[in-house]
C-alpha cells in the first residue's frame, strides 16, 4: 500500500470530519482552541480524541471482523468483562503488569470463543457474537458480584486519565494500536488473506487459505481490542461498572467502521478509515452537546447526521455522481459473468 492510495481511500471520511468540525466551530466559536495546563493539553479537539478512544479501539478489531464478512456484537460486553476482571485483579493485590496481561488474555479468550463458533460450528457471526453480548454482562456482574468495583491503583488509573507529552494516554493507545494493526495486516499477507475470505470464503479455502485459523485470529484481535477499551473505560471512572461499561458501544463501533467507508459485505478494509469514522461519531456527539440542544434531541440529530454521511458514501449516490460526470455508455465494461441465467445445481 503506497501512501497516496491510503490517503485517497480515506479522503471522503476526512472531508466529512472537516465538515463536522467546521459545523462545531460555527456552533461554538472556541471549539478549535487548545490550551496547555498542568502538563496536559485541554480543548474540545483533545476531548474528542480522548472521549472517542473506546469506540476507536473497538473499531480497529471490528474493522478486521467486518472485513471477513462477520460482525462482533459482543465487544461492549467484553469491555464490561475485562473491566471487571481488571478491577478484581488489581484489588486482589496483583501487580499492574499481571493485571493488564491477564485482562488482555481474557479478552483474547472471549474473541476465540466467538471465532470458534463462527469458524468451526459455522454459526452466523451475528448470532454467534450475540451469545456473548447477552451472556457477557452477566459474567461481568458475577465477577463484580453486582457492585461497582472501585480501585485506587495509580498505575491502572493512568491508563484512563494519564497523559504522555501532554496527550491523554487513551489517545496514545488507540493511535499506536491502530498504526500497529495496520502495519501487521499490511506488511504481511494477513490483510490480503482476510479480504479474500471476506469476499469469497469458499474460493479462498479452495485456494489453500486457512480460513478457520484466520477467522479465529480476527475475532481474537477484536476481543483484544475490546479488552484494551474495557481497561480504558474502567480506569477512566476508577471502577468496573458491569451494567454500563461499554453499553451500546458495539453499535458505535460498527457505525464507525461503516462511516469509515468499509462495507458490511466484507472485503476491502481500511483501519484508518474506521478510526476517522470513530472520530466523526465523537465529533458529532460533542457538537450536539456544545450546541446545547435539549438532550432528548441528541440521538435523533446524531442519526440524521449519520444518515447524511452514509448517503453521500453509498454506491447509489456514487452512481448518481458518475452519471452526471460522464455520460453513460460504458456498458461494455459490465462483468461478463454477471448474467448466469441457468441453473447452477451441478452437484
Amino acid at each position: 500500500m503506497t501512501m497516496p492510495a491510503t490517503i485517497k481511500r480515506v479522503l471522503p471520511q476526512l472531508a466529512a470530519l472537516v465538515v463536522i468540525l467546521a459545523l462545531n466551530t460555527a456552533i461554538a466559536p472556541g471549539f478549535l482552541d487548545i490550551a496547555y495546563a498542568n502538563g496536559r493539553l485541554y480543548g474540545s479537539l483533545i476531548d474528542i480524541l480522548n472521549r472517542g478512544a473506546p469506540v476507536a479501539l473497538l473499531a480497529i478489531g471490528m474493522t478486521l471482523v467486518i472485513a471477513t464478512r462477520g460482525i462482533d456484537l459482543s465487544v461492549g460486553a467484553v469491555m464490561a468483562i475485562c473491566g471487571a476482571v481488571a478491577a478484581a485483579l488489581i484489588t486482589g493485590d496483583h501487580s499492574l503488569a499481571a493485571t493488564i496481561l491477564m485482562t488482555l488474555g481474557v479478552g483474547i479468550l472471549c474473541g476465540l470463543w466467538n471465532g470458534a463458533l463462527v469458524a468451526f460450528l459455522g454459526i452466523q457471526p451475528i448470532i454467534a457474537t450475540l451469545i456473548l453480548m447477552v451472556a457477557g454482562r452477566g459474567i461481568a456482574q458475577l465477577i463484580t458480584e453486582g457492585v461497582i468495583l472501585t480501585f485506587n491503583d495509580p498505575g491502572l488509573i493512568f491508563v484512563g486519565s494519564g497523559s504522555v507529552f501532554g496527550m491523554p494516554f487513551p489517545v496514545i493507545l488507540w493511535i499506536v494500536i491502530g498504526i500497529a494493526a495496520s502495519l501487521i495486516f499490511r506488511t504481511t499477507a494477513l490483510g490480503l488473506l482476510v479480504e479474500a475470505i471476506g469476499i469469497n470464503r469458499r474460493a479462498s479455502a479452495l485456494a489453500g487459505i486457512g480460513t478457520s485459523a484466520l477467522l479465529l485470529a480476527v475475532y481474537a484481535a477484536s476481543g483484544l481490542c475490546a479488552a484494551v477499551a474495557g481497561i480504558v473505560a474502567a480506569a477512566d471512572i476508577r471502577g468496573a461498572d458491569a451494567n454500563n461499561a461499554g453499553l451500546w458501544l458495539e453499535l458505535d463501533a460498527i457505525l464507525a467502521v461503516v462511516v469509515g467507508g468499509n462495507s458490511l459485505m466484507g472485503g476491502r478494509f481500511s483501519i484508518a478509515g474506521s478510526l476517522i469514522g470513530a472520530m466523526i461519531i465523537q465529533s458529532v456527539n460533542t457538537g450536539i452537546l456544545l450546541a446545547g440542544f435539549p438532550p432528548e434531541f441528541n440521538l435523533v440529530i446524531k442519526a440524521a447526521i449519520i444518515v447524511v454521511i452514509l448517503v453521500v458514501q453509498s454506491p447509489a449516490s456514487h452512481t448518481l455522481f458518475a452519471f452526471f460526470k460522464h455520460r453513460p455508455g460504458r456498458a461494455a465494461e459490465t462483468p461478463a459473468g454477471a448474467a448466469k441465467p441457468e441453473e447452477g445445481g451441478a452437484r
Binding site: A196, N200, A205, L206, G208, E333, E342, E343, G345, A346
Partner: protein, 523 residues
C-alpha cells in the same frame, strides 16, 4: 393426443440476460394426459424455459398458448390462476406452517369473513387422500420427509392450477421407494388429463415415466421425440450435441504411462452417497480426461482428490507415501491444484485485482508471515498475463470486470504460479469464448509435455479427444470404465457413457455392457 390443439404450446420463445442468450427460438408443446421430460446439460436452458412458462421470467419474444389461447403470465400467481402450477427442486412451501395451511396458503377457506381452519383441515385431508396420503394435516410441514413435502407441493399445485404441472428435478433427493410412489401419483394425474413437464437428469426415470422427451442444448431445442423407440445412445448424443459418426482417434499419442513416475495414487477411495470407491493412478505427463453426464460423480471425484470432501474409505498415496487430506490446504502442500467448475462461486475472489487473484494460492501456501513483495507479485502477475494472454487493461483491475474466459485464465494462472504437480480442472472451458477456449486446450497440452499430471473433467467430448491420454468414464456416481489413448473418439466416449448409464445400479460387480462396449472401442 395427435391432431388436437396441444394443452400448452410455446412458439419461438427467446430470452436474453444482459446480452447473453439463454433461450433462442424454442418451440415446445405439451399434450393433455402426457408426461413430457425436459432434459439437457447445465446451461441448456431448461430452467429458463420453465420459468418463462410459469411467469417467473418474461420472454423477450415468442408466443405461449394454453388450450389454444395466447397467454402472457405476468408472474407465478398469474400462471397458477391460468392453470400452470410448478413444484421446484427445493420444495417451495413454508416448513413452519401446518400441512393444511400450506395447501391453502393465500386462499384460506372463509366463514363469515374469517378464516376457517377446520374447513381447511377437512379439505386438506380430502385432497391428500387422493394421493394416498393419510397424514395429520394439522402437523407442521417440517415434521414430514422431503417425499411427503413434495407430494403436498404437488397436491397444492394441482389443486391450484389443475391443467399443467411442472416438476423441476422432483426426484433429486428421493430414495427409490419414494420415487416409485411419486411416479404412481404422476401416472394418476396423467390419467386425470393433466399435462406434466418433468425435468430430470436421470435417464432411467425418463424411460420409466415419460411419453415424450424434449432435449435442449445451449438454449436451443435439439428435438422432441417419443420415448418409445428412442435409443439411449441417441438421447445422449442429442444432449451432448454430437452426431454419431465414425471418427479417427487423434490427439495425444498412446504412451505407456505405467513406466512414467507416479504422482499420486488413489485406491478404493470413495464416499457413501457421493461416489462409489474408485482406483486411479496419476502419472507425470499424462492428461486423464473424465467424462460422464451431469450428476455422474465427476465433481465428487475431484472433491475427494483435492481434500474438499473426505473419503470414508480407501487409501491415497503421494510419491508412494500414504497421505490424507482433511482440507484443500493440505492437498496444495502436496503440490495439487484445482480449478473448480463454478468459477464465479468457487474460483474468483471478485473484488480483488487480477494481481491478487493470481498470487492468492501461492501466498496462501507460503503463509501469511512470508508475504510476496509488491514487486514479486507484479512480476508473477505480469508473467502470467503475458503467458496466458489474459486480456485486461491493467493488472490492478478487479477480476470481476474481466470476461469469463479471462477470469478462467487468471484462475489457471493462480495454480500455475504454485508450480503444481497435479492439476485438476473441472470444466475448464465452460462458458468461455471461442478464443480463450482454444488457448486453454493448447495450454493443457503444453503442461502435459512439461511433465505435469492433469485430471480434466469436461462435457465437451471433442475437447477430451484433443488432449486426454486416457479417459475415465463415469455414470451413476461410479467409475464405469476407462478408454486408452488410441481408442478415444467422441463416439467411443459417448457409447461408454450410455453403456454405463444403462447398467442397473444393482449389478455393481458385473462389468455389463459398459465393459463390452469399451472392449469393442479399444479393439
Amino acid at each position: 393426443m395427435i391432431g388436437r390443439e396441444p394443452l400448452l404450446r410455446a412458439d419461438g420463445v427467446t430470452k436474453e440476460f444482459f446480452g447473453v442468450t439463454a433461450l433462442s427460438n424454442v418451440d415446445f408443446e405439451l399434450a393433455a394426459g402426457e408426461i413430457h421430460a425436459l432434459v439437457g446439460e447445465n446451461g441448456a436452458g431448461k430452467s429458463t424455459l420453465i420459468k418463462i412458462l410459469t411467469g417467473a421470467y418474461r420472454r423477450d419474444r415468442g408466443r405461449i398458448a394454453l388450450e389454444g389461447e395466447s397467454i402472457d403470465p405476468a408472474d407465478v400467481m398469474d400462471a397458477q390462476k391460468l392453470g400452470i402450477g410448478t413444484v421446484y427442486q427445493e420444495v417451495n412451501l413454508l416448513p413452519n406452517l401446518t400441512v393444511a395451511e400450506n395447501l391453502f396458503l393465500g386462499r384460506e377457506p372463509k366463514r363469515f369473513g374469517l378464516t376457517s381452519p377446520r374447513e381447511a383441515n377437512r379439505r386438506s385431508r380430502e385432497i391428500l387422500s387422493q394421493y394416498g396420503l393419510d397424514i395429520d394435516v394439522t402437523a407442521v410441514l417440517a415434521t414430514y420427509s422431503v417425499a411427503v413435502r413434495q407430494i403436498v407441493a404437488i397436491a397444492r399445485a394441482v389443486d391450484l392450477s389443475g391443467k399443467v404441472l411442472i416438476l423441476d428435478e422432483p426426484t433429486a433427493s428421493l430414495d427409490a421407494a419414494e420415487v416409485s410412489r411419486l411416479f404412481s401419483i404422476l401416472e394418476d394425474l396423467k390419467a386425470r388429463g393433466l399435462g406434466i413437464v418433468f425435468i430430470t437428469h436421470f435417464f432411467d426415470q425418463v424411460y420409466r415415466i415419460a411419453d415424450r422427451v424434449t432435449i435442449l442444448r445451449n438454449g436451443q431445442k435439439v428435438a422432441t421425440r417419443p420415448i418409445a423407440g428412442l435409443e439411449r445412445i441417441e438421447l445422449v448424443s442429442m444432449m451432448l450435441g454430437r452426431e454419431l459418426q465414425e471418427q479417427e482417434a487423434h490427439g495425444a499419442e498412446p504412451v505407456d504411462y505405467s513406466k512414467k513416475p507416479v504422482v499420486a495414487s488413489f485406491e478404493g477411495v470413495g464416499k457413501r452417497g457421493r461416489i462409489a470407491p474408485f482406483d486411479l493412478t496419476m502419472h507425470a505427463g499424462e492428461v486423464v480426461g473424465v467424462a460422464g453426464l451431469l450428476g455422474s460423480g465427476r465433481t465428487e471425484t475431484a472433491e475427494l482428490m483435492f481434500g474438499i470432501a473426505q473419503p470414508d474409505e480407501g487409501r491415497i498415496a503421494v510419491d508412494g507415501r500414504p497421505a490424507s487430506f482433511s482440507s484443500p490446504r493440505e492437498a496444495i502442500h502436496h503440490g495439487f491444484g484445482f480449478c473448480p467448475e463454478d468459477r464465479k462461486l468457487d474460483g474468483i475472489v471478485d473484488d480483488l485485482s487480477v494481481r491478487e487473484n493470481v498470487i492468492l494460492a501461492l501466498q496462501a501456501r507460503r503463509g501469511w508471515a512470508k508475504p510476496l513483495s509488491r514487486k514479486e507479485q507484479e512480476e508473477i502477475a505480469d508473467r502470467y498475463i503475458a503467458a496466458l494472454d489474459i486480456r485486461t487493461s491493467d493488472r490492478e483491475k478487479p477480476i470481476k470486470f474481466l470476461s469469463g474466459g479471462n477470469q478462467q485464465k487468471v484462475i489457471l494462472a493462480r495454480w500455475l504460479a504454485t508450480d503444481p504437480r497435479l492439476l485438476i480442472l473441472d470444466e475448464p472451458t465452460r462458458g468461455i469464448d471461442v478464443g480463450a477456449h482454444a488457448e486453454i486446450i493448447r495450454l493443457i497440452g503444453e503442461l502435459r509435455e512439461r511433465g505435469m499430471s492433469l485430471l480434466v473433467i469436461s462435457s465437451e467430448l471433442e475437447e477430451l479427444v484433443a488432449y486426454a491420454t486416457r479417459v475415465r468414464v463415469l455414470a451413476d456416481r461410479r467409475h464405469t470404465g476407462e478408454l486408452e489413448a488410441g481408442a478415444i473418439t467422441p463416439d467411443t466416449i459417448m457409447r461408454a457413457i450410455a453403456a454405463g448409464e444403462d447398467e442397473t445400479p444393482g449389478d455393481r460387480g458385473g462389468k455389463g455392457r459398459a465393459a463390452e462396449i469399451l472392449a469393442e472401442g479399444a479393439a
